[in-house]
């Protein structure tokens, strides 16, 4: 094995671009591994750990790009590097041409605002190390901010949110993946119709699921405000959620409000529910795994699942009874489960959930706990249920493959399904596995055709199990709409053709999978 590298000084490429290049070059024949990174201190460490340390690495800075390739032989390494440079070159060439021709590409917030007068929101997705400074800059210049970046300290988050509140501005984030403002999708969001239901969410895929289900019920979204997951911590105190709620209450285009979060810290929950109590508009609250009574005492409509929240909100929007709507939405899943279990071999008894959406993963675990008991995970509901090794499942396991531990140096599973396919194959070869549960998230920013890629993996997984005399059940829900770039109908059709049992919501898919696992267990 030999290692070859190139350094491009005084340039910058974002991490998504570089990860795509790294993974494309790594897959070239004869290449053992490849990295393309900006030479920040943590990245330099990663390069050293990978055994790709190159001469002069120490002297490089965050605006120097390092591409290193380990390959079987020299010509392979050289051509792999050339390929990586070509992939960059397109972009670099375009940049240069654009710079010469115009309209000029601004290099800073200040020149951007000169180019786009009356701009009013800054969407920030730079690496965490720089994100707080960029957000502060935007707030000081009077912009609302969506801060997609993660790895921002809670101290910085609090400081930024206080600054935003002082200026009456909205700071969505950090780690805010999804928002829809004035019908415009920001970050990862779906193409949902516009309407009169407003959402404030501290949970990215939670907002996506609720908005998508509202769309399927033929209602629409006025605004979807993200807050970032830590907004409802005791430290931050729900600053953004309270601002969002107040703004939606004052917004003429909003009739019904939905709050989505994991259970807030007690004092934050109290503050939020006090605001709910004073709100003149109906507020549906889903605190996944939280306490219903407190919500109801505050006059809010408590929902247990994201689907319930969507159903209630649509009923309220139409002036109907939220409770009747939820009652009517119940469906009998047993016959479907029975069909699946009947085909299984003895010894198949466990469930494995492989998630890309963090909130969807949480929701599934909460529903499964009621039916199957302990659910092991890398993001467990109970400390005792933590997987010893996140890469190895045990018993009933549900993993969030979008969690930091899996995404370090690798694209998010919503963008790149490779990791999930590997894991799916591993689960399929486990004779104790009865059912695999998946989420498929569509929308802007997500993989262009996740259904097809996963369908191929499902077919292979089912064949693998069949070759060992088993039937592997695969249950999934697709979080998306017909308007999404990937098209919900097409995605569902291709998954169904691969033998996936589809449910219209994550909650139903999780319930069905839980039912299948418990019935399989009862049988064996």
């Amino acid at each position: 094995m030999i290692v070859r590298h190139v350094v491009l000084r005084n340039t910058y490429f974002d991490s998504v671009t570089l990860m795509k290049i790294s993974s494309a070059v790594s897959r070239l024949p004869g290449v053992r591994q490849a990295v393309a990174v900006m030479a920040t201190e943590p990245n330099k460490e990663t390069v050293r750990r990978a055994g790709l340390a190159v001469k002069g690495l120490d002297g490089l800075s965050a605006t120097d790009l390092v591409i290193a390739v380990e390959a079987e032989e020299e010509p392979v390494a050289v051509s792999a590097l050339r390929r990586a440079e070509e992939m960059l070159g397109g972009d670099a060439g375009q940049r240069q041409a654009a710079a010469a021709r115009g309209p000029s590409v601004p290099r800073s917030l200040d020149s951007a605002r000169a180019i786009l007068p009356d701009s009013n929101l800054v969407l920030i997705s730079v690496p965490g190390l720089y994100a707080a400074a960029e957000a502060a800059k935007a707030l000081r210049r009077g912009f609302h901010v969506m801060l997609f970046s993660d790895n921002v300290s809670i101290e910085d988050e609090l400081r930024l949110k206080l600054l935003a509140r002082e200026k009456g501005l909205l700071l969505m984030g950090p780690d805010c993946g999804t928002a829809i403002i004035n019908g415009v999708p920001l970050g990862f969001a779906n193409a949902v119709r516009r309407g009169t239901i407003g959402i404030v969410g501290a949970a990215g895929t939670g907002i996506q699921q609720v908005s998508v289900l509202i769309d399927r019920l033929e209602a629409g979204i006025s605004q979807a405000v993200g807050t970032g997951g830590r907004d409802v911590s005791a430290r931050v105190g729900g600053i953004a959620m309270l601002q969002g709620l107040a703004a939606l209450e004052a917004d003429e285009g909003t009739r019904v409000i939905v709050l989505v979060a994991k259970p807030p810290a007690p004092e934050t929950a109290e503050a939020v529910l006090a605001a709910v109590a004073n709100c003149e508009k109906p507020v549906v609250v889903v605190f996944l795994g939280g306490n219903r009574e407190a919500i109801q005492r505050a006059g809010g409509y408590a929902a247990d699942t994201l689907e319930e929240a969507a159903v209630m909100a649509v009923a309220l929007d139409r002036g109907e009874s939220a409770f009747e709507a939820v009652r009517d939405a119940g469906v009998e899943l047993t016959p479907v489960a029975r069909q699946e279990v009947d085909r299984m071999a003895p010894g198949q008894k466990f469930l494995r959930g492989l998630y890309s959406g963090g909130t969807l993963c949480d929701e599934a675990m909460l529903l499964l706990r009621e039916r199957v008991g302990p659910v092991y995970s890398n993001t467990p509901l109970e400390p005792g249920w933590r997987l010893r090794d996140s890469w190895v499942s045990t018993g009933d396991t549900v993993v969030d493959l979008g969690d930091d531990e899996f995404t370090r140096g690798r694209p998010h599973p919503m963008i790149d399904p490779a990791l999930r396919l590997q894991r799916l194959e591993r689960e399929a070869s486990d004779p104790e596995v009865a059912v695999v549960l998946l989420d498929v998230v569509l929308g802007y920013g997500a993989h262009p055709d996740p259904g097809s890629v996963l369908a191929e993996g499902v077919v292979r997984a089912k064949e693998l199990a069949a070759s060992q005399g088993r039937y592997l059940s695969v249950v999934a829900s697709v979080c998306g709409t017909r308007g999404d770039p990937q098209d919900l109908d097409r995605q569902e059709a291709v998954l169904r053709a691969a033998g996936v049992v589809l449910q219209p919501s994550n909650a139903r898919a999780a319930r069905l999978a839980g039912l299948i696992a418990s019935m399989a267990r009862a049988r064996s």
């Binding site: 730079v126 000081r140 009456g168 004052a250």
Partner: protein
């Protein structure tokens, strides 16, 4: 109404900083947006990022100081009002003082052209009888060196000014301050490149005895020549008023002509002066520089202001001054110039960057107005598109655009003006400077011309001083 509710009522207009995919989505859905070609600020260096965020904490104070400074830059009205002996008008000018370009300089570290020019000045003043004696006078402190900038003056290349030399007096009529510069000697063997032969000295005497009195009388008779107007018009005629002054010189001469008669200049003198002016495309350069100096001084010394008020080179060091840090210099080694050499010369012959003429860039001319002067991009083997790109790039590091100095090819948008130290460090873009290249040996003259960049170290150091770190 709260700003958030207000946002819900308006069209969303997004600035995307980071992942390009998000901008692609905005384009797909037809949302108004602009994508920023973001890079880690200050190359990701922690101490500089700390200084930037320290200044961000004082954003409002800094921004209002910068706005006022910028308005003073744009509102300045430099007018050429007089010609006088340096020791009559230049503050602090004495018989035993010789001014030079750039930041303060010790004799031992002076480059060839500066040494030659200082020697020439002392011979011209009659203070020294020989080059050796001149050097001795400086070495033992009988003659003191002082930067032009410390006296409200600017000089091209070596920038040497001595007591009896005639200087132009430029008054900033908006703010009352004055700036000074010598008269341009033309090309060839000239003092500013360090030549001190008899030919050079006798031309200086002629300038003192014939040219200066004539121009003095003509300028006085004219009631003052509006330099800002000449610069604005010259930019429309292919000058950038640093390395190309052909149009501005012509406009100047045309402006002076009607007053030769009323000033009573004799026919013989008119002939000599006319001959001299008509052979020197760069005669306007020194006036351009004095106009820029008068302009930038009006914005100097304002607390919290992060705009650069001077960039100058002494051939050894490159220095900048910043409004908010007063008279302190921030210096680094003078850079090499990337340029085109006259026949028979190479980069080997070049002196590092030299002269106060980068005051023009400080005021938004020269390299910053490159798009107005496509003809001179050839010095660096560039294209007119490169010229446009350079002016645009300079826009990234400036407070705003000077709407008096417009550029036709950019749709009459103004030249970028008010270099902001914060933006230079943040973006890593350093000011571009159009400049002549001096031979490194005294008196060899100009060997080429080209482009260079101000060294980043000056701005980094200034940033930390501004942040109080």
């Amino acid at each position: 109404m709260s700003p958030v509710v207000d946002l819900f009522r308006r069209e969303l207009r997004v600035i995307n900083v980071g992942l390009r995919e998000f901008a692609d989505t905005l384009r797909e859905v037809g949302a108004q947006h602009v994508h920023v070609d973001w890079r880690p600020p200050a190359g990701g260096k922690p101490e500089l990022m700390a200084a930037l965020s320290e200044l961000e904490e004082r954003f409002d104070a800094v921004e209002s100081a910068n706005r006022e400074a910028f308005e003073r830059i744009c509102g300045s009205q430099p007018v050429w009002i007089d010609v006088a002996r340096a020791d009559e008008v230049v503050p602090g000018m004495r018989q035993n003082v010789v001014l030079h370009a750039g930041p303060p300089l010790r004799w031992e570290e002076a480059c060839g052209p500066v040494r030659g020019a200082v020697i020439g000045a002392l011979l011209y003043e009659g203070l020294a009888g020989s080059p050796a004696e001149a050097e001795r006078l400086v070495q033992n402190g009988e003659v003191q060196l002082s930067p032009c900038h410390h006296h409200g003056a600017v000089g091209p290349m070596a920038g040497v000014v001595s007591a009896s030399m005639p200087v132009v007096v430029v008054e900033n009529r908006a703010y009352g301050n004055r700036a000074f510069a010598t008269l341009n000697e033309g090309l060839g063997k000239v003092l500013r490149f360090g030549a001190y032969s008899e030919e050079v000295i006798s031309r200086l005497r002629w300038m003192r005895d014939v040219l200066a009195p004539a121009l003095r009388d003509v300028v006085r008779a004219s009631g003052g020549i509006d330099l800002k107007q000449i610069i604005a018009r010259a930019l429309h005629m292919g000058d950038e008023c640093h390395n190309r002054n052909a149009a501005a010189t012509s406009l100047l001469v045309r402006g002076l002509l009607p007053h030769f008669g009323s000033a009573g200049v004799s026919g013989a003198v008119v002939a000599e002066v006319g001959e001299f002016l008509s052979r020197n495309d760069h005669f306007f350069l020194n006036l351009s520089m004095a106009a820029c100096k008068a302009t930038m001084d009006a914005a100097h010394g304002m607390p919290n202001c992060t705009l650069v008020t001077a960039m100058a080179r002494n051939g050894t060091r490159f220095g900048i001054r910043v409004s908010g840090t007063g008279d302190r210099w921030f210096t680094a080694a003078a850079p090499r110039v990337n340029g085109l050499y006259f026949v028979g010369f190479t980069a080997e012959d070049a002196n590092p960057d030299l002269g106060d003429s980068s005051i023009t860039e400080t005021a938004g001319l020269g390299g910053f107005a490159m798009a107005a002067a496509p003809a001179i991009v050839q010095f660096v083997g560039g294209t007119p598109e490169d010229a446009v790109a350079l002016t645009r790039e300079m826009g990234e590091i400036c407070f705003g655009r000077n709407q008096t100095f417009t550029i036709p090819v950019l749709g009459f948008v103004g030249t970028p003006a008010g270099i902001d130290v914060r933006k230079v460090v943040e973006t890593g873009i350093t000011p571009v400077i159009n400049t002549g290249i001096a031979h490194r040996e005294a008196g060899m003259g100009q060997v080429g011309a080209g482009l260079t960049r101000a060294p980043m170290e000056c701005f980094e150091e200034a940033l930390q001083a501004l942040a109080g770190l």
